[in-house]
């Protein structure tokens, strides 16, 4: 693949719903915050310095072996719609998509690696993978970090570790997260317990698109909040053993219970969702997410056999506002999107 415009009509490999615990852990993501030594932080740099930084980082990245598998995309030259699609694909943050000033993303062709440049920090490295693969993901991102470190010097203090613009990221600069699908805990009224235990463990729990977003379609993003005083491996291990594994276990138990004790009610929810999706003429992205969430549950509980996980994942992504407008090749008002979304889903499920 050579052209970035080719990615927008299908899902990336890391979204294919495979990997360990993928019945509940949709994906794993790790981000590292890094700043180039000898420069002020991005938000405090004047426009000339921001430009110099961007150029400095671009040229250094392009000197590494990563270069041949990367697209380099400057935000200022990228249309609004494409930036929205990159955010919907979780490849750039909303901050990078909607911010101002010289900024860019270097993106690997398989979309598993993204280097955001001039975000809150000079560089935000991100690696994504399917299912619960946090350890492998860390190996990958650490390898990328080492490659970058060979070409540039990152701001570091022996006491505080990697220095970041916001002190909440200082130290390792690492943000480890998983996307969890927890419909059964929601249906059995136990989701508050998840929130409470996350709070007790100083973990953040958020919606599909991170900070400031509401959970939709029973998808929850769980991540570490502290970045200092523990090693990267320790933070990852704690998140896995203290939060991800128990939550997966609770969700599986809740699913089994539903299947055994409330089979008809469960089937009713799942098949109603199919009914809505195959018949609706207008559907909001929120409603679509809830319905697709039920179908995902139905597939994993073996209640549905004629819809594949691949179709489901595509429907999730391609019915987001940006992707939908790209498919229709025109700008759509929200109510027009609801119509186009309903039509697109009907076509793919019938």
């Amino acid at each position: 693949m050579t052209n970035i415009s080719d990615i927008y009509d299908h899902t990336a490999d890391w979204m294919d719903g495979s990997g360990p615990m993928s019945d509940i852990v949709v994906s794993s993501r790790i981000r590292l915050a890094r700043n180039i030594a000898g420069f002020v932080f991005f938000s405090h740099a004047d426009p000339d310095q921001q430009k110099e930084l961007l150029e400095h980082i671009r040229s250094k990245v392009m000197e590494t072996e990563l270069q041949e598998s990367l697209w380099y995309i400057t935000m200022d030259e990228t249309p609004d719609l494409e930036r929205l699609m990159l955010a919907e694909r979780h490849l750039i943050s909303r901050r990078l998509a909607e911010g101002s000033g010289p900024r860019a993303v270097a993106l690997s062709h398989d979309e598993s690696l993204a280097l955001m440049i001039n975000e809150e920090d000079h560089i935000r490295v991100q690696v994504l993978s399917s299912g619960q693969q946090l350890e492998e993901t860390y190996e990958n991102i650490n390898r990328v970090d080492n490659i970058l470190e060979n070409k540039m010097e990152f701001s570091f203090s022996p006491k505080y570790g990697y220095l970041t613009a916001c002190p909440t990221n200082v130290g390792t600069g690492i943000r480890v997260s998983v996307m969890l699908h927890l419909p059964a805990l929601k249906m059995t009224g136990q989701i508050d317990k998840v929130f409470r235990s996350a709070k007790e463990m100083h973990l953040a729990i958020r919606g599909l698109y991170g900070e400031g977003t509401e959970p939709i379609g029973d998808f929850y993003q769980l991540s570490n909040q502290t970045t200092l005083g523990k090693s990267e491996e320790q933070l990852i291990n704690e998140l896995i053993t203290q939060a991800v594994e128990p939550m997966v276990e609770y969700e599986r138990r809740a699913r089994e219970k539903l299947l055994k004790e409330r089979t008809v009610a469960l089937d009713d929810k799942i098949f109603r969702a199919i009914g809505v999706l195959t018949n609706a003429r207008l559907i909001s992205s929120e409603e679509a997410s809830y319905m697709l969430s039920m179908i995902r549950l139905g597939i994993h509980l073996d209640r549905i056999h004629d819809i594949t996980l691949k179709t489901l994942n595509e429907l999730f992504l391609l019915t987001q506002p940006g992707h939908l407008q790209n498919i229709c090749q025109k700008e759509l008002e929200p109510h027009e999107r609801d119509e186009a979304r309903a039509q697109f889903i009907r076509q793919h499920l019938n």
């Binding site: 700043n35 030594a37 000898g38 420069f39 002020v40 932080f41 938000s43 405090h44 004047d46 000339d48 310095q49 809150e120 650490n142 970090d145 470190e149 010097e153 990152f154 701001s155 570091f156 203090s157 022996p158 006491k159 505080y160 570790g161 990697y162 220095l163 613009a165 916001c166 002190p167 909440t168 200082v170 130290g171 390792t172 690492i174 508050d192 100083h202 909040q225 502290t226 970045t227 200092l228 005083g229 523990k230 090693s231 990267e232």
Partner: protein, 161 residues
Amino acid sequence: MQCQMCDKHATVHLTEIINGQKMERHLCDECAQKEGITVKTHQIPINELFSNLVDAQQESRELADLNCPQCKIKWTQFRKEGLLGCPNDYLAFEKPLRTLIERAQDGATSHVGKVPKNSEGKMADQLKLLRFRQELYKALEQEDYETAVRLRDEIRKFEMN
């Protein structure tokens, strides 16, 4: 009324509405603290409270003037915006920042994770480079090209190492 969690007398009464359903809880002081509903308070003598207040006022006056010699950002500006201006702020704001970091980082105050290659003694060099670069921008702004050329050479020399 008895506490719902133990046999003690309930002193905390909470009414919550969750998903349209009213829920009432009656707990004793201790259980309420355990549940995270109330926070433990210490009885502080009144004169201590006053002296703390005076200290806090004096401290906030000191902090109001605190700024970073490198990026010129003020402590108060950082508190308002939440973002630091440059790596040197970690030194310039050392004292108040330490308290803040400790709070945000679950009590941790020092790094134990990954260390970049050859990091020993680098912090001082990194800050020197930062200073050179800030001075270079200032020289260019003032059209002092002689200084600018000298600083540019210094920066190059640094980056070569």
